[in-house]
Amino acid sequence: MSPAWQNLRADFPILDQQVNGQPLVYLDNAATAQKPQCVIDALTQFYRRDNANVHRGIHALSMRATFAYEAARERAARFFNAAEPGEIVFTSGTTDSINLVASAWGDANLRAGDVILLTEMEHHSNLVPWQLLARRTGAQLRYLPVVAGDSGLLDLAQLDRVLKPDVKLFAFTHVSNTLGVINPAADLCAAARKVGAVSVVDAAQSAGHLPLDVRALGCDFLAASAHKMCGPTGIGVLYGRRELLAAMPPYRGGGSMISNVEYFESQWAPAPQKFEAGTPNIADAIAFGRALDYLDDLGREAIARHDEQLATLAYARLQAEVPGIRLLGPARHRSGVVSFDLKGVHAHDVVTMADQEGVALRGGHHCNQPLMRKLGLSSTSRASFYFYNTEAEIDRLVATLQKIQRFFAG
């Protein structure tokens, strides 16, 4: 690993601490990533110097806040390569973005008998909103299966069987939060377009990790969360193609999303304001913009290579050095998410014991209960890497799991 990556750790003050008497090894990045000092500074600077409400403000602070908030939107549009900033709606995160599409697009466009296509590896946030939509409209849910075994790959041979002209919307995750699989998002979007279905990409696990270009993907909607991309919690984006956003009714009513209000009816502001009722999350949006600068300075190709190197090394070493471990997802060409089952030791026990060694993992069903059932597991432990993780931390992970295994074999 290059020394440059090691040096980046200094940008993340939180990494420099002891947990339970050991240097922290933070391997829970799929849940949330840590924040560099520049993002923390952007937040505090806004509140110390520029804080005011946005839009229609005449005074200096309000103009500054509005300018910075809209600059963050432009920054996000550039990051995702949207055709224009108006295609970026600020939301509270991926879950909110998906719910927005399900409500505003789904209620207006789906009716009984239509099909919503999902995959078997979806996070609950890309599953439950569609179940609710199906219940409201009488639409049906259908699933593209995951192949049998532990590779976690989508069964693409089944795609033609499930993606028929009755499919009106195809929502899928770009990168699985449980399996570390990277799905062929551009191919899936193209296949959806061919049958006239709208595509929704859940980019929660890919946006800060892989190069991502909505026009190259050819997606209709894409959802992401800032906090998994070194930005703050409580802010995220929905990318939507301009024509789709323009034709959609509002998601929530309130201030800022109207052009004219009468006592009995109103006219909506154009997108994206139409979808941003109420005072938005101004400070977090601005700090998110700073996080995007940080990621682009590192280079997303480089981040993706580093993630994959660490994950592939971790996968190979765990396989070789921890007897009885069951690893999920592909051995190579994967994201930084490595889930595993340690034979005879429940994930909760693994995570508690690893925490005692200063190693932060996550254990549970990872908001992926149906997939867990399919794999015959109730829970797994998960180590998830980001660019500030090191090979030395993989040493600590391997040693910790070996220790846990010895303890339980006792």
Partner: protein, 151 residues
């Protein structure tokens, strides 16, 4: 740093490896279940109630070492007890796993659960089986879930 052997005492490891009364009880007249949606622990407790006495009980389930061992210990300790006695024992166990304090010298090997109090995220694992058993004995048909206020 907490010593892991505080949490995973040999009694816990032993009950996890060889859970006692781990079966379906054919003579049961009450059944209670509990689940912890956070981690997928789930448990079913079978009780044969005679009057207000727990004449026999057993459990089955899957989950972490703490949840399984605590349920196993519970079956040993509640067998033959009246509901009131069982509630009193659980009150002591609850105090034990939340504070580490032992009130009652009669807790014997249940004292192995004392280490749980140093791991707040794990308290619900330790109490899951007890809730399921007491609900079953008291005839509350609601499954127990950890995602409810209170332990």
């Amino acid at each position: 740093m907490h010593d892991l052997t505080d949490l995973y005492q040999s009694v816990i490891l032993d009950h996890n490896r060889r859970p006692r009364n781990y079966s379906v009880l054919p003579t049961a007249n009450r059944v209670g279940s509990g689940n912890n949606p956070m981690c997928g622990d789930q448990i079913t407790v079978y009780v044969r109630l005679e009057g207000d006495r727990i004449a026999d009980l057993s459990f089955q389930g899957s989950g972490c070492a703490i949840s399984q061992a605590s349920a196993s210990l519970m079956t040993v300790h509640l067998k033959g007890k009246t509901i009131a006695e069982a509630e009193a024992i659980y009150a002591d166990v609850h105090r034990l796993v939340t504070t580490g304090q032992v009130d009652d010298d009669n807790l014997s090997d249940l004292a192995a659960l004392a280490g749980v109090h140093q791991f707040p995220a794990r308290i619900k694992c330790a109490t899951l089986g007890w809730h399921a058993a007491l609900n079953a004995a008291k005839g509350d048909p609601q499954p127990v879930t950890t995602e409810k206020p209170g332990d």
